[in-house]
Symmetry: C2
Subunit: 516 residues, 2 copies
């Protein structure tokens, strides 16, 4: 039976197990927590990198300021503009009617019979999804890779996009691209205690999910720098340098390429991509192509998928292993909250693919409503469908607005002294370079802050504009940047850029004066 320890034993016995604190009044001992920052998985602390971008000092201050505004505190602005996050709906973009109508029907199939609100193509799409759900319910688990009907829609989309066959068996639907990226990155973790860790090449600047995940899996992050002076392009020389550097501490196994670039907004040329593929072949690297912004391409830039470029290259380059990622959080759908995404494996070892599927099985299945969003996103209404006109209007409106704002930010930033900005050819961000006066840098250092954090905090306090400082994303030593989205509606963005310009000129003036 149960053997009870006495109060005395508890008080004296377990000293070897951890520190004790005597509580004189009550006569027994409180222990320290079992789980503390010093006993907790040391690798997941790298997620602080992720938290930094999502809840760093600038964002936390922005949240405080919002609370202050609500409580009536007077500020030089009426609201905080959250230009820090690629979250279109939060910034006022309206959801596509087609997507939401399909979701309403699959969630509540009774509506198929009880209302006349829904166009026929919406009903058809909803039925095609419900037909494949067990028990006709989105509340049943699906295959852990996602419903076959969704993966088929995806494969068809890829075929239309690339003109190259795509097999639904190579497609895994995930609850957001982050989840897929994490599943793939962790494949590269080696055996603990081995002499050399695995390494993955990651661009600087990057999307911080990569550093965070590599940190968690104790995989070395090997930085390669995008060339700001060449429109944030990749150069083979820099890739070679990074690889040589990386090899000193790790065994490079994969390369991450973000195209269109986040936060940099460049769209890679075909020849640049061929270069990466040749490099990957030569150095035996798997390419992880983060192509979540593939529908966000503006002006003359053209998105070509890594799969297409690779498939059109001669052997042996067309045999390079590739995983590419898509998300309905981006594009024109921008349904961040629905968590719908997929990845496609090309040239993947079949057994590795089955391991990937087994890890997906641990999550049982991606959200079925998110899967439905993927099906709508890759297979929207076509000419002749009842919903086509509305869909086309909504989509054009979104993409034209983004294109207009991409031009606008580039122009305005480049018109401001000591600010320069590469053209925003794609994605949802601008990543302008700001030259800070030395006295501002010194002031930041005195406060123990990164100079770009210091700058972004002043920007926030004076204008309400919230951006992500470059130091949270990665930038070349000695340079300073910030990331802003191009998501605010055009009139709001014009106003925001005006306020930014005034702030910046004042900032420069103030610290230049201090310098003299």
């Amino acid at each position: 039976m149960v053997q009870e320890t006495t109060m005395l034993e508890r008080a004296v016995g377990p000293t070897e197990k951890g520190a004790l604190t005597h509580n004189g009044d009550k006569g027994y001992f409180f222990r320290n927590k079992t789980l503390t920052t010093s006993t907790c998985n040391p690798y997941i602390k790298t997620f602080k990198a992720m938290e930094y971008a999502a809840r760093g000092p600038v964002i936390l201050r922005a949240m405080q300021i919002e609370a202050e505004l609500r409580s009536g505190v007077k500020k030089p602005f009426r609201q905080v503009i959250k230009a820090n996050l690629g979250d279109a709906h939060a910034m006022g973009q309206k959801p596509l009617s087609f997507v939401r109508q399909v979701l309403a029907l699959v969630a509540c199939p009774n509506l198929l019979e009880t209302t006349h609100y829904f166009p026929d193509d919406v009903k058809l799409k909803a039925r095609s999804i419900l037909d494949q759900c067990r028990g006709g319910s989105v509340g049943a688990y699906t295959d852990s890779r996602g419903l076959e009907v969704v993966r088929k829609c995806v494969a068809d989309y890829i075929e239309r996009r690339d003109g190259i066959p795509s097999d639904p068996e190579n497609i895994v639907v995930t609850a957001g691209a982050s989840e897929g990226i994490r599943s793939c990155l962790k494949l590269f973790k080696g055996v603990e205690g081995e002499e050399k860790r695995s390494g993955v090449l990651v661009p600087v600047p990057e999307y911080p999910l990569y550093s965070a995940t590599l940190g968690e899996y104790n995989i070395a992050k090997i930085n390669y720098y995008l060339d700001e002076s060449d429109g944030w392009g990749l150069s083979r020389v820099e890739l070679e340098r990074a690889l040589t550097e990386g090899r000193k501490v790790a065994e490079p196994r994969a390369i991450v390429v973000i195209n269109p670039g986040n936060p940099t907004g460049q769209v890679l040329t075909r020849s640049n991509m061929e270069q990466v593929i040749r490099f990957a072949y030569d150095e035996r690297l798997v390419i992880l192509a983060d192509e979540v912004y593939q529908d966000n391409v503006y002006e003359d830039a053209e998105f070509v998928s890594f799969k297409k470029v690779l498939s059109q290259m001669p052997a042996p380059f067309n045999g390079v292993e590739l995983v590419s990622f898509y998300s309905c959080s981006k594009g024109f759908v921008c349904e961040c909250g629905l968590r719908g995404a997929y990845f496609e494996c090309t040239n993947m070892d079949p057994e590795v693919k089955s391991i990937l599927l087994a890890t997906a099985a641990a999550k049982l299945c991606p959200t079925v409503l998110g899967q439905a969003a993927v099906a709508c996103s890759v297979d929207p209404p076509r000419p002749g469908d009842p919903s086509y006109a509305a869909f086309r209007y909504e989509k054009d409106n979104i993409l034209n607005g983004l294109g207009e704002r991409a031009r606008l930010v580039t122009e305005v930033f480049n018109s401001i002294p000591l600010v320069s900005c590469s053209p925003v050819q794609g994605a949802l961000y601008a990543f302008p370079n700001v030259q800070l006066p030395q006295s501002a840098i010194n002031a930041a250092i005195r406060l123990g802050q990164e100079p770009d954090v210091f700058y972004a905090l002043e920007l926030l306090e004076e204008t309400g504009i919230c951006v992500v400082p470059g130091s949270g994303i990665g930038q070349k030593e000695g340079t300073f940047h910030f990331r802003t989205t191009i998501l605010p509606e055009t009139s709001q963005l014009v106003d925001m850029l005006d306020r930014f310009k005034i702030f910046h000129l004042n900032f420069i003036k103030k610290y230049a004066t201090l310098e003299t």
Copy 2:
């Protein structure tokens, strides 16, 4: 500029990098894949355990048989009964109208104005969620812990359930309980290469997510056996034994308790839980309470949460660290496909909590529609609300059906020779013990199969009933079990149990004859 390697360099140079295969015809070399089972993260192979339960030999054969039936092959049955998975909607359970109506409205808020289909409390619930979504859209990211309105509904639910305060700040909404369990388990991973790994106590039999996740994080799984002869209860003697055994190879840091039990169906008594809490205190273990079946309790059994028992114990026991898990995939809602769940931390170190939140941030946010399902699941209509009558009818219907079937399976299994089954007091499963004739065991061994897999495959072939063999879940050496759900509708279940009985008696007879 780019330095191109020649064909010759590529063919000869990289021999040290991996095996090459000469392709004589084409004159260049194909390499082995970069990522193969031998170079791939060795720890995630443990997910095979998970895959086993989800896609083991019995399930794979069931899928083949379904295909054969579709193609017209004659079998002694018309359809496969998938009694392997706790997936209520797949087995014909209808979703709760309230949940689905709220989902339709938050997905498509236009319906708030355009139809008269929705009761006022449904509209109110939908508006309460939409009001907190940025831009009024479920397509915007939420706080990575989940919307505040959802966490408040959860805290209210816990307060009503336990009569003890609950703070929304201690609640994290996740896309399914699996995700939350994984986030918490990984906290216990220690530094690589340290002398002793961390260990976590896990019940046998278990839900295989635990072994799979611990394997991935290279945390030792320390088995403690539930006592079948005592209705699958926990005994302190066995916990002590397991701990002593575990300490030889690992540093035990936490204990997982599944209550109500999966696959065992027991509901722990308060005194049993107090025992576990004292043990956790004495041995400095964090308690991970998998309470996802808290609404699935039948007959006289009563679910009491670990938080309630712990809070009502005297100090220092009420200071034990606890995380408890809830899921709307289970209970009476059973919305597996929506991926809505939460966990609540009690007595957690604030810094560890902030690390947990940072890891959640890497996933950006849980599906907002899944969050809405959580809000509906923990805060359904109340007496007086327009939807209450329908909700009450649907809920009672589901829970009464489950209760009836829980009694039924227990009775029938215990009426069959060489089969015994602990009462199904809770959850969605029975886990009967089957004594197999020695000649059947020998036959299995000759085929290289686990004897219970052999038995389950014969059951499947002859009756179409698909169950999970105990060897995939864990059982005491030399005993054989299978897990079946109690989800088939009562008439189907009666038929299934009839067929099972006939099969079993024939099986015993056949192999007993072989023995003589």
